[in-house]
């Protein structure tokens, strides 16, 4: 009888303890990152899909279509085509097709490339209504990006010193940044 009463008392006490703990949390600040209004800065090593790296000198892709990455990829997501352009010493890439829907973000390709011609992008929030959107031609992407930049800057791209790590696009209005804790 006594032990039963004691058990009830201890049990009741444990319930009170639990409720006290949750109430304590109730009054604490929320830990939520309000995503579309604020977003994380991806860490430098964040692995999004891969993207081609621009040669800061020329503004063109460094890649010369050696296909090492293509071979290293376990999921066969990369198809690189290259051609030797007139007057160029090396081959240069003409299509760099990435089927991101098969990629496992393993990094084999980036490690395989000896020239650092590809790297991981920081696109972490892709979503689309069609899956074709993720079979992308990285080369074209790079080119359009370059053209856009040229248009924006109003200068030939070659003169623009492009940082290897491009500055972030302007955050949308009202958007705050939260650093990785």
């Amino acid at each position: 009888m006594k032990s039963a009463l004691k058990e009830i008392a201890v049990g009741f006490n444990s319930l009170i303890t639990g409720m006290r703990i949750t109430l304590g949390q109730f009054f604490k600040r929320s830990v939520t990152l309000q995503y579309p209004h604020e977003s994380l800065k991806m860490s430098e090593r964040f692995r999004g899909h891969i993207e081609l790296v621009k040669d800061p000198a020329t503004g063109k892709a460094i890649c010369y279509a050696c296909k090492l990455c293509e071979r290293a990829c376990p999921s066969d997501c990369i198809i690189v085509e290259g051609a030797k352009l007139d007057g160029a010493k090396k081959r240069s890439v003409t299509t760099y097709q990435l089927d991101f829907t098969k990629c496992s973000l393993c990094g084999s390709c980036v490690e395989a490339c000896r020239d650092g011609a590809i790297r991981f992008s920081h696109d972490y929030n892709l979503a689309s209504l069609s899956k074709e959107e993720f079979v992308m031609d990285l080369f074209k992407r790079l080119e359009t990006e370059r053209e856009e930049e040229e248009r924006r800057e109003g200068k030939p791209a070659s003169a623009v010193p492009v940082a290897v790590k491009p500055e972030a696009a302007q955050p949308a209005a009202g958007q705050t940044k939260v650093e990785v804790k």
């Binding site: 201890v10 049990g11 009741f12 444990s14 319930l15 303890t17 639990g18 703990i21 949750t22 949390q25 830990v31 860490s43 090593r45 964040f46 692995r47 290293a72 990829c73 376990p74 496992s104 973000l105 393993c106 990094g107 084999s108 490690e111 991981f120 990785v180 804790k181």
Partner: protein, 381 residues
């Protein structure tokens, strides 16, 4: 469907009325099975006559894939077998390859492997803890656990670039070194986690409802663990101090002082306590490893770009969050392995469920299943 009809109707032939049992299907889409396990339960009212797990709903050909891609290409797959403790799984695979190819791993790399593995173990246990509580109907602990887990993920993402499927270890070391902010962050995390664990104790471990649901429920004997090859917290919850980190020490583990928590109860509570205690021990290991972290490279010097292992078979076992994970590579001296066998802890741990759950009540059996900490792709591979 190979339905064994005799269970319901078989006796009719013998002139006896059918039994009062019915078949209850849990899964593949069931909140309690954490993924796509299916448990076919023959029930007698609330009592389980036979609970037969049906696996394979997420069989992903991991072993087949091992046979058709190079060692380096297979590496990312290892983090998708048990995605909750991806580091340790990668560890086993790189360990096996390193063992076979005799690649020496620099000590700094081993230390960082230990740190990240233990962080990963904590995050895995946290997910288990939350999900287990979710099984028992408590939702809030899950979110607390995920909140703490996010801190680990932030740390690991900063060095590996991924939150879950880290592909961080390489044959001969790591793909990149850690920086000071990681070390600082890890120390902060350790300091943060200790009081949190205390809070967990107050919120859950001592809770009377919780204790009533676990204490004495779902006993698994030592003998049963041995017969079924159960490892990890399951066997330690039965009082056997079996831990690969102790019995077959690997990596830098011999250099740390830590305990193998065991509880003799064999019930769900014992398994629960083992995991809670393991988190404490993991914190200890991390702290020690951070203190002793040697300088130096994180990658072995000469790792051949194209790996070919000498013919033969090689094993490597690690203590993953769920128990003993072993890789067996059979090589015929080619670029791609001849056979890769993945011995996963969840498979063995679950295989005892059928026997352990006989005659139990449904909710108790599900608590037992939760306490086994299953990751279904780890069973199905």
């Amino acid at each position: 469907m190979t339905e064994k009809a005799d269970f319901l109707t078989g006796d009719v032939a013998a002139g006896q009325p059918p039994r009062e049992t019915f078949v209850l299907n849990l899964g593949p889409q069931h909140p309690a099975t954490h993924g796509v396990l299916r448990v076919k339960m023959t029930m007698d009212g609330e009592y389980i006559v036979r609970a037969e797990p049906v696996c394979g709903y997420i069989h992903r050909m991991q072993e087949k894939m091992g046979e058709n891609r190079t060692y380096a290409q297979f590496l990312p797959n290892t983090s998708r077998i048990d995605y909750l403790s991806a580091m340790t799984y990668t560890h086993a695979f790189v360990g096996a390859v390193e063992r076979a190819a005799k690649i020496p791993v620099p000590p700094r790399a081993e230390y960082i492997r230990v740190i990240t593995s233990e962080l990963n173990r904590i995050s895995s246990h946290l997910v288990w803890w939350g999900a287990f509580l979710l099984d028992l109907g408590g939702f809030t602990p899950l979110l607390y656990a995920f909140d703490d887990r996010e801190k680990i993920l932030d740390l690991l993402e900063a060095i590996t670039g991924a939150r879950l499927t880290y592909c961080y270890y390489r044959f001969g070391g790591l793909c990149n070194d850690v920086d000071d902010s990681f070390i600082k962050g890890t120390r902060e995390f350790v300091a943060h986690m200790r009081p949190r664990l205390k809070m967990y104790r107050g919120l859950v471990t001592e809770n009377i409802i919780f204790r009533k649901r676990l204490e004495g429920i779902g006993p698994i004997s030592q003998e049963m663990c041995r017969k079924y090859g159960a490892t990890g917290p399951v066997i330690r919850g039965s009082g056997v101090s079996y831990d690969v980190r102790r019995v077959e020490p690997y990596s830098a583990y011999p250099e740390f002082d830590f305990e193998i928590p065991t509880f003799p109860g064999g019930d769900s509570m014992a398994r629960y306590l083992v995991r809670m205690e393991e988190m404490v021990q993991s914190l200890r290991i991390i702290e020690q490893a951070l203190d002793k972290l040697p300088a130096g490279p994180v990658m072995a010097d000469k790792v051949p770009r194209v790996l070919k292992l000498p013919a033969g078979d090689y094993c490597y076992a690690v203590e993953a969050a769920r128990g003993r994970f072993a890789v067996r590579i059979v090589s015929d001296n080619k670029e791609i392995p001849y056979r890769v066998k993945l011995r996963t802890p969840s498979l063995s741990n679950l295989s005892l469920f059928e026997e352990a759950s006989k005659g139990m009540l449904l909710p108790d059996a599900l608590a037992l299943m939760g306490s086994l900490d299953l990751v279904i792709p780890d069973i199905d591979r």
